[in-house]
């Protein structure tokens, strides 16, 4: 670590934040929260949008280094390929905090800490709920899975975590699993087709709320009751998802909160104050059942 004396003379902390892009509502909420938290914490935020391109993010980080910001935070587009630029930051004695997504660097001294969710764990939580829920089920449990963009880290991990958890019960089987690109429109379209091809399905697991919400429309159009005929598990817990959960259309949501701004700012201050911070900070996240959702919904910001 290094002292808070580096950088601007006015004593105000400057943070460079390199965001992935604005590919989803989740992401923009994340951006907004960080911006607001920075303002509240009196930290000057330099923000850049990489438009989903790793090279742009690297560029942005380099420019932060050149501008001698006090601390850099970023959500990596990809897990790998960061060693070089992180080393540059380290050489410039600028601490780096990773948000939301991890990197796979061997050398963990390259960054101070990671704050974000564990996608595998999210998948696991979803799977565990299903395993518990399926205990009561008389027959086989056939799951349709709506995946996020092929190749993206949340899709990979939420799929893997879920698969691992449902191993516990041989009754549970994934009968179909297709890419629905994290969007509502695709969720609806894919679910329409999968539902007809697999009428035996009775559970839907969607990698995010939006796909689940789209799928609900498809299920309703098919004359079935979402949440009853088809149990639905999703990840994220955005407001729309929570509303559906409270309405009984979704059965279980694993939270993946974009609201890590305050935690990030606290961590930043700690790091700059030279305090020891844990290498990995998980965002304060929980899971919601329908009852919990009803309770939590009123003060849901996002």
């Amino acid at each position: 670590g290094c002292g808070g004396d580096s950088g601007n003379d006015d004593g105000k902390i400057t943070m460079g934040f390199a965001q992935v892009g604005a590919e989803s509502g989740w992401r923009t909420a994340n951006t907004k929260d960080i911006q607001e938290a920075a303002k509240a914490a009196g930290i000057e935020l330099k923000f850049s949008d990489a438009q989903q391109k790793q090279e742009n993010q690297i560029k942005a980080i380099r420019s932060y280094i050149a501008q001698k910001v006090d601390i850099i935070a970023f959500s990596p587009v990809v897990e790998s390929g960061w060693d070089q630029v992180l080393k540059e930051a380290k050489d410039a004695e600028i601490p780096v905090i990773l948000t939301d997504r991890a990197v796979d660097s061997q050398d963990t001294s390259l960054y101070e800490t990671f704050i974000g969710s564990d996608f595998v764990l999210e998948g696991k939580k979803a799977g565990e709920w299903l395993v518990a829920d399926a205990k009561a089920a008389p027959g086989p449990v056939n799951v349709i899975q709506l995946e996020g963009n092929t190749g993206s880290a949340p899709a990979n991990d939420r799929k893997a975590g879920f698969a691992e958890a449902i191993k516990a019960d041989p009754k549970i089987k994934i009968v179909a699993s297709q890419d629905a690109e994290f969007t509502r429109a695709k969720g609806k379209e894919v679910m329409e087709a999968l539902f007809k091809a697999h009428p035996e399905a009775n559970v839907l697991y969607a990698h995010n709320d939006d796909m689940g919400l789209g799928a609900i429309e498809a299920i309703e159009a098919a004359g079935k009751k979402p949440g009853v005929d088809i149990k639905i598990i999703t990840v994220d817990a955005v407001k729309d998802g929570m509303t559906a959960l409270a309405d009984g259309k979704i059965n279980f949501i694993v939270e993946c909160s974009p609201l890590l701004g305050n935690q990030l700012m606290d961590l930043a201050k700690q790091v700059l104050d030279g305090k020891e911070v844990p290498k990995r900070v998980l965002t304060e996240e929980t899971t919601f059942t329908q009852e919990q959702a009803k309770a939590a919904l009123p003060d849901r910001k996002y």
Binding site: R27, T28, A29, A185, A197, D210
Partner: protein, 342 residues
């Protein structure tokens, strides 16, 4: 035999054959794939899904067909879709009563008006300023997405409006409204281009701009009309997409649809170099692409193989359509038939 060979030589034979083949292949995975029943007072079945699901692409491909016929291209359709959806949903969500038909119609009108303006922008850049179409529309592809996000503030705007929902998810006389809308727009376009001289003049401008100018055709005005029309079609598609899910997703709506639309147009037999165009072909191409998507879902092709599968289908289809390929592969047979004739 002879009749069969004239049939196979028809422009639309191969896309149609591919469509039938794709649909049939679904039967192995879902036995009642072709079943259509009445449910809750409307038609229900995979084929209906395909038709309804293809409407946005059909519309976009329709506009794209005319643009391509003038030897242009419109990359901005996806952004137009996003902006139109955003404008419509934003206005509706601000209505005191989201279910008021008048309010929804006004919102739809404003959104389509915005689409026309965007089309005019493209058209002016291409026809008046003289910028190469791919670059002229690239500007709106990039900037337009930003505008859509600006309108939605990067979030998804939800609406709860039954009249609006009808556009994309409703039914009229058991038939999906989206399909009716698309059919009407397609029919109107066919009438408009083929019953007036518009089609001929567009084809002329597309295949030889210099000769057309010297024949007195005012290419500039035509080009302008065509880009405005393409944006209009994209706008209607944008309404259908956002109404189908009762929300506007400025970040993702219509993303990359331009590629699918161009693909549909080309499969339908319109050359990217401009000139002759086939609206029926483009519609068929669009439905084919949607059928391909649905087939991928139904057959459960693993996600990491999906793209390869698409590539194979596209290549096989294009090869089957290519006279050069048939000539080269079936050369032996053709030679013989000539000898018989001689």
């Amino acid at each position: 035999m002879n009749r069969f060979s004239t049939l196979t030589r028809h422009r639309l034979f191969w896309p149609a054959a591919a469509l039938v083949l794709l649909l049939c292949s679904n039967l192995f995975f879902s036995a009642d794939f072709f079943a259509i029943r009445l449910q809750d007072g409307h038609l229900y079945g995979s084929l209906i899904d395909i038709l309804r699901g293809s409407t946005p692409l059909v519309l976009v491909a329709l506009g794209m067909t005319l643009v391509i016929a003038t030897a242009g291209i419109d990359l901005s359709v996806g952004s137009v879709i996003a902006i139109v959806g955003a404008v419509a949903c934003l206005r509706i969500s601000n209505l005191p009563d989201q279910n008021s038909v008048g309010g929804v119609l006004a919102a739809v009108g404003v959104a389509l008006g915005v689409a026309l303006v965007l089309g005019l922008w493209n058209g002016i850049l291409v026809a008046v300023v003289g910028i190469q179409p791919i670059i002229a529309t690239l500007i709106l592809l990039v900037g337009g997405r930003g505008i859509a996000q600006l309108i939605t503030d990067g979030q998804i705007i939800n609406v709860r409006s039954d009249p609006y929902r009808t556009i994309g998810a409703g039914y009229w006389l058991t038939i999906p409204v989206a399909v009716i809308i698309a059919a009407v727009v397609v029919a109107a376009t066919v009438l408009f281009t083929r019953r007036t001289a518009l089609g001929l003049l567009i084809e002329s401008v597309g295949s030889s701009p210099t000769a057309s100018r010297l024949a007195g055709i005012q290419a500039r005005r035509l080009t302008l009309i065509v880009y405005v029309f393409a944006a209009f079609c994209a706008g209607v598609a944008g309404l259908i997409i956002s109404s189908n899910i009762s929300s506007a997703d400025g970040n993702n709506a219509g993303n990359l649809i331009e590629l699918d639309a161009i693909l549909a147009v080309v499969i339908g037999g319109t050359a990217l170099t401009g000139g002759r165009f086939s609206i029926a072909g483009s519609v068929l191409g669009a439905v084919l692409i949607q059928a391909l998507n649905v087939t991928i879902y139904t057959t459960g092709i693993p996600n990491n193989v999906t793209l390869l599968f698409k590539a194979v289908v596209v290549v096989v289809l294009c090869l089957a359509q290519s006279p050069a390929f048939r000539a080269k592969v079936f050369r032996g047979r053709r030679r013989k038939s000539v000898e018989v004739a001689a």
